[in-house]
């Protein structure tokens, strides 16, 4: 049976009692066979309980600050409104059958040739934040302490997932020294992309791709293809993915798979 959830999702669903009974039984069997998994579940429970406790105390403090019952009731009622489903009405009309049938066939044919996946869907399916790897930059360039500190801080923030801080640190480093090390240029561009500075990210990746000595050219090309998907440039994405596939490098298999989905039609 194909797993529809990742291990992390299964753990969350298990501790929230959201698994169906057969899913729950299967997961408990897995835990019995794997002390590592069971340990992970236990640690997750502790962490979730602690987060709830911390937030409860904050909520308690907030509630203590509401100085009247009427005000509290008002807040509660407003909050409840968000959970009420909107009333929807379906209006039905009668159509004359023949023209509707013809129109339906035409629409079906036209729609059938539409792409199966939108570029946004393909981007969502394929994008993952590149893990930070502290590779030795080419040339063994000696970095001055202020620049080194900025880059170390940027890397630390990147690894922590704080892309805004990472990007700002890389930007400062770039002001200090326009010739940033290879890896810094790449991760700076990733941070730009992740914080919504897509155009700047694309420009940076282009520079890296065109730098024949860059160790990150292949990675930058892959990221560029994903950016094209993100902004809806289907044809440009296809062109880049074809290039990546043809090069037979690290991303060639992924590029081939993505190309296949890019060209897949809805029905035909």
């Amino acid at each position: 049976m194909e797993n529809k959830y990742t291990t992390e999702e299964l753990i969350d669903r298990y501790i929230n009692d959201e698994l169906l009974s057969d899913e729950r039984a299967a997961f408990e069997r897995q835990m019995k066979d794997s002390p590592e998994l069971a340990g992970k579940v236990e640690l997750t429970r502790h962490i979730v309980n602690a987060i709830e406790c911390k937030c409860e105390r904050e909520a308690l403090a907030e509630m203590s600050d509401i100085d009247s019952k009427e005000k509290f009731q008002h807040i509660l009622r407003q909050s409840e409104q968000k959970h009420r489903p909107a009333v929807r009405r379906m209006a039905l009309r009668r159509w004359i059958l023949a023209p509707v049938s013809v129109a339906a066939v035409i629409v079906l044919v036209v729609v059938g040739f539409l792409p199966r996946y939108s570029t946004a869907e393909l981007f969502t399916m394929s994008y993952q934040t590149p893990l930070y790897e502290s590779l030795v930059s080419r040339g063994g360039i000696e970095l001055e302490p202020p620049l080194l500190e900025l880059l170390d801080y940027a890397a630390e923030r990147y690894e922590a997932g704080d892309m805004t801080a990472a990007m700002k640190a890389y930007d400062k480093a770039a002001v200090y020294s326009p010739e940033l090390p290879d890896n810094a240029r790449f991760y700076r561009a990733v941070a730009m992309n992740e914080t919504g500075h897509i155009k700047q990210a694309a420009e940076e990746f282009t520079l890296i791709i065109n730098d024949k000595e860059s160790e990150f050219a292949e990675d930058a090309l892959w990221q560029q293809a994903l950016i094209c998907l993100r902004v809806g440039e289907r044809k440009k994405a296809a062109k880049l993915l074809t290039e990546i596939k043809a090069e037979g490098g690290f991303y060639s298999v992924e590029a081939a798979g993505l190309l296949s989905r890019l060209h897949k039609k809805l029905f035909f």
């Binding site: 990742t6 992390e8 340990g39 992970k40 640690l43 997750t44 502790h46 962490i47 979730v48 309980n49 602690a50 987060i51 709830e52 406790c53 911390k54 937030c55 409860e56 909520a59 308690l60 509630m63 203590s64 509401i66 019952k69 509290f72 009731q73 509660l76 009622r77 409840e80 959970h83 981007f123 969502t124 399916m125 994008y127 993952q128 934040t129 922590a160 997932g161 704080d162 805004t164 992309n193 992740e194 914080t195 919504g196 993100r230």
Partner: protein, 157 residues
């Protein structure tokens, strides 16, 4: 706060229609607020969740006493609840309080506010829900690693 779980708990253990459950939730929350304002929660030994749920249970039992229909709880939430504030939980609580960004926000949005990954991606200005999912996974793995080390240091593993 705990709205979804409260409703699921009442639905599982009592025969009450959904509109009534929402009313009971609101009444329980107001009672909780009044107890806070009256200083009755200064020495709370149980979690706030347990307290809120027990208020809800008592309200339903009071209502059902009138119709002399007392339902046995199929799954006694309170019997299984361990409110002991053990050393492990204390260590975990202190670790969670020290959480830095973005893990603090991402995990609070996910586990406390029960936001979807799409909502978290929007709130954190991430490229996609998958990025939010990856970030959450990285944060949890980091926390589990730190927690394992701290438990080991305390001789709890």
């Amino acid at each position: 706060m705990y709205r979804g779980e409260f409703i699921a708990f009442i639905r599982r253990n009592f025969s009450v229609d959904d509109d009534e459950i929402v009313d009971i939730y609101q009444e329980s929350f107001i009672a909780l607020y009044e107890n806070i304002r009256n200083g009755k929660l200064e020495h709370l030994s149980a979690s706030l969740k347990t307290y809120l749920f027990s208020i809800g249970r008592n309200k339903i039992l009071n209502r059902q006493r009138v119709s002399s229909r007392v339902e046995a709880l199929k799954n006694d939430y309170f019997a299984n609840e361990d409110d002991g504030w053990g050393l492990r939980q204390e260590i975990t609580y202190n670790m969670v309080r020290e959480m830095t960004e973005p893990c603090n926000t991402v995990l609070t949005l996910f586990y406390w506010e029960r936001k979807s990954m799409e909502d978290i991606a929007g709130a954190m200005n991430y490229a996609s829900a998958q990025v939010a999912k990856n970030r959450k996974s990285i944060c949890m793995n980091k926390l589990r690693t730190i927690l394992t080390e701290r438990f080991r240091t305390e001789g709890l593993l």
